[in-house]
Amino acid sequence: MSLLKIDGLTQRFGGLQAVSEFSVEMQGGELMGLIGPNGAGKTTIFNLISGFYQPTEGTITLDGTPTAGLKPHQVTSLGVARTFQNIRLWHDMTVLDNIRIAQHYRMGYTVWDSFLRTKRYRECEKRIENIAFELLEAMSLADYAQELPKNLPYGLQRRVEIARAMSIKPKLLLLDEPAAGLNSSDVEGLIKLVRWIHDNFDITIFMIEHQMKVVTSLCQWIKVIDFGATIAEGTAEDIQSNPAVIKAYLGDDTI
């Protein structure tokens, strides 16, 4: 059974068709890319997968469970985590807190436990904190645990956002333009990080990205969309020489 199965996904906002008949099937462990010019509908697809929008048509199935009608936090608890095009960290809480809160769906205790500080509460909080620290260590962010994200450089904030997504222990990780706004050394670091995540965790990664270097070095398979519709898919070499893709990005020769 595939991890993520999207079938005929269509999204209309009033008269605008943002996504047309998008279909994909991803197995566990894949690293797939989603590229296309600005406004092509890529983030909309991610929003649909994470449950922020409900699709006009089509189905999304996660590990056999259809996500129709589920609220975003319920979709997340099925094992989907994402990062955002514009970083959406909680800037007035410490990095550690940012990571801890992402484990909300499996805290394991009720509000009464938090009042009474029961044994269950203490054990669960310890577990939450341990997971958070492990992740921070693994991603070389342990030194920044008590910092506020707004005080960190952009590249580190990106890392924190990815760490936060990872603390959900997702089966599917959606990365929305993770390299946006990063300088070249940060981009190198990002590529290494994503590769490390892919190699060391039982995880599927779906990535929107504009920077070709990132896409070509990481993605095994790439889907290209424009105006909401899939115009090409294939390996990095296939895509780069595909005339439809070139036309979408650069236009064709006719004036």
């Binding site: 906002f13 929003n47 922020f52 955002f84 095009q85 959406r88």
Partner: protein, 303 residues
């Protein structure tokens, strides 16, 4: 049948006050995204200004005829109330706007300014209520079994006239376009060469002067004035504006009349002490079903 028509007329008159006040709320909210919680109290100030203007004009210094007093009181009240509104904007809201303060702080300031106006009035003028002088000879027309006073007709007419006037300004004039522009993008407007402060002052002038007019007409219809008269009416007019769809003057206009109808309707069936309870409940129910109001447009958040 007569009973129904009589009540419809009452509802129209009662709703006119709400409509006039709601228009002021919606204008300011549309332009500044600010709930001017002090607006109901500006209505109260308008009523008191009308009282002082009328008393002064009728009094020994001028000794004018009541009808002339009425005619003069309209522009004088509106201008002076507009001054109060603009002063409030200058002293309390503009400095916060300059600083780019969070909207919440401006709203709290507005709420507090309303309280200051109420208690300032109470402190300055004392607790004794003021009786508004009679300005208009009451003329009652009996049409069928329905009795209508000239004042009632005047109030309804005023509300409709103000709405038409405002609608014209907002949709057909340049300044109206600027007002609508500000509501979309406050930062781009000055970059386009439009003097944002002047537009905002103009908005407050419009809103406050019509609140003043409402105050004058209300004082003429229900001649007892007291410092807290604006508070409850203001809240309800504001909720009416929201139910209609805040930011859209059609919403304020129809919302105000809707509230008038609800309240008059409730009082015909239930004891009058239930009026406020029902009014709020119905308004909230409408808001629950259509959170952006009857004329409002839902906003999408993009992530």
């Amino acid at each position: 049948m007569d009973f129904i028509i009589q009540n419809i007329l009452n509802a129209l008159q009662w709703g006119s006050f709400y409509a006039l006040i709601a228009l002021g709320y919606t204008l300011v909210y549309g332009v500044l995204k600010l709930i001017n919680f002090a607006h109901g109290d500006i209505f109260m100030v308008g009523a008191y200004i009308a009282f002082f203007v009328a008393s002064w004009l009728l009094g020994p210094v001028f000794g004018l005829d009541p009808t002339i007093t009425f005619v003069l009181a309209i522009p004088l009240t509106m201008i002076l109330t507009a001054c109060v509104g603009v002063t409030l904007e200058r002293i309390a809201y503009r400095p916060l706007r300059r600083k780019g303060a969070h909207r919440l702080y401006v709203v709290i300031t507005a709420l507090m300014c309303g309280l200051i106006l109420e208690y300032g009035n109470l402190a300055a003028l004392g607790a004794s209520r003021k009786k508004f002088p009679d300005l208009l000879d009451k003329v009652i027309w009996d049409i069928g079994g329905v009795s209508v006073t000239n004042l009632k007709v005047l109030v309804i007419f005023a509300a409709i006239a103000v709405f038409i006037f405002l609608n014209f300004i907002v949709t057909k004039t340049k300044i109206g376009m600027a007002m609508r522009g500000i509501s979309y993008d406050k930062f781009a407007i000055p970059l386009m060469g439009i003097p944002i402060d002047a537009i905002i002052v103009f908005t407050f002038i419009l809103g406050s002067s019509f609140a003043g007019l409402a105050g004058l007409l209300f004082a003429m219809s229900y001649p007892i004035l007291e410092p807290f008269m604006g508070a409850l009416i203001g809240w309800k007019a504001f909720i009416a504006a929201v139910v209609g769809g805040i930011g859209d003057i059609r919403g304020a206009f129809y919302g105000g009349f809707l509230l008038g109808f609800i309240e008059v309707g409730v009082v015909t069936v239930f004891p009058s002490t239930y009026r406020d309870l029902f009014a709020f409940t119905i308004l909230l129910a409408i808001l629950w079903m259509k959170p952006t109001g009857l004329f409002g447009v839902a906003k999408h958040t993009k992530i």
